[in-house]
Symmetry: C2
Subunit: 262 residues, 2 copies
């Protein structure tokens, strides 16, 4: 099943997506819900970010080929992480499919995509074993962890490198019933495939991350865990581009790119 | 004025605190509100975290004497930051005054307090000048940026060093009308003053941080900016301690400390 969040004339609701139709849901996708008899053509609705997380976790450096590429590109020698330490992003930066990524006027660049699988938490969870870890996941969506590489290198933290307004496209929908370790995620820029990778190559699995997080933290419904990206993240993005993150069950997260005028 | 968030028999509301009385408010403290005729004795209410931020910003290394002390203690040579780069904390870790800080069973320690002034955003803001920066602030509260020093040193990120459940006490109230650069913040452990410092010694002012953040990010009502701590953060905290962060206009943020059993 594919779940989404939609707006129609100022009213916000969740819906189940079936092809080009959306069945409106009653209740919360994080609690109980049921389909109503109201159906909408998907094209008549504005698709919103599928959830707004209270806690926004991310796995860094979670694929070997991406680390190798990043080292080569930046002249660094970062080793694969020894542990599943997690990072944070911030909801201010979230945008939905169709909305514009805005590169700040003073960005030295390059700005690059990072296409990621995202686990959406469905149930409050603490102290889960790896074996039970996925029991708290409602489903999976896609994220684009936009990264300003100059600021990533210069700054003491990742604040403006990763969290500028519009730098965290997420969506389009949450797909349930997937095995997060057996998916292919792809990225297209202006219609041309930039890269595809298999989530089975994660250095630390979704299960391992969730088990580790819940040793110390309570996961809440709507929290998200972005699971990292593989391979090179080129070509660099520029004004007028369109970037798409895709996975066959979840759909396509599409965002135009523009540069702010100074 | 002092604004707080309270619970009474499962009902949550904001109130204006006057001495030991709370005048119940109607509406949102982040929009329009007015006092109602309902008054409560403060002692009959549970005081909650005064707001739950969507975006949780923090200034790191924002006082010279704290950096010097931390270098000496850890044998490091960190210089004062050259820029107001900001970090992130996560709402899972928030607790209110009166609630217990729980040190994880596997913490090698030490766990230390960091008593901080916290700016609470009241209005949506983008591209503020330093001169106008405080116009978006509703008021100020206090935070205790609990830190597990072994994990802070060992891990690639600050996730469990700073964001374990219960590691971010915040409150008790939001005081309006303060000058954030002219306050004295103090910390007591088991009733004895550990340290006091003047916020005028910030390396980068509240105004500067807010102006910098809003160059790249939209601040939203309820967002918080923790402004760093000064001086040594000792004594180390242990099971059975009580730690208090205080400032005369805001009040006292009091939390008992316990260690989880393995």
């Amino acid at each position: 099943m594919k779940l989404g969040r939609f707006e129609q004339q100022g009213r916000i609701f969740h819906g189940a997506v079936e092809g080009d139709q959306v069945a409106e849901l009653e209740g919360s996708i994080f609690d109980r819900y049921r389909a109503t008899s109201k159906k909408h053509a998907l094209s008549t609705l504005k698709t919103l970010v599928p959830c707004v997380p209270a806690n926004f976790y991310c796995a860094g450096l979670n694929y070997a080929a991406h680390i190798e590429w990043a080292n080569k590109r930046a002249g660094l020698n970062r080793k694969p992480p020894e542990k599943a330490d997690i990072g944070y992003r911030s909801p201010n930066a979230l945008i939905a499919t169709g909305e514009s990524i805005v590169i700040p006027a003073d960005s030295p660049g390059p700005v690059q995509f990072e296409g990621e699988l995202v686990a959406v938490i469905g149930k409050k969870a603490r102290n889960l074993s790896e074996q039970d870890a996925l029991s708290c996941v409602l489903g999976y969506t896609l994220g684009n962890d936009l990264s300003e590489r100059s600021w990533q290198k210069q700054d003491r933290t990742l604040w403006r490198a990763k969290n500028c307004d519009t730098f965290k496209p997420m969506g389009p929908f949450i797909a349930t019933g997937l095995d997060p370790m057996k998916l292919t995620v792809g990225i297209r820029v202006n219609g041309a495939t930039a890269t595809e990778y298999d989530t089975g190559k994660m250095l630390f699995s979704a299960q391992h991350y969730i088990a580790q997080i819940t040793r110390y933290m309570t996961l809440y419904p709507g929290d998200v865990l972005w699971l990292g990206t593989d391979n090179a993240t080129e070509p660099d993005l520029k004004d007028g581009d369109t970037v798409e993150i895709y996975q066959q069950d979840i759909g396509v997260l599409t965002n135009p790119v523009r540069r702010a005028r100074a």
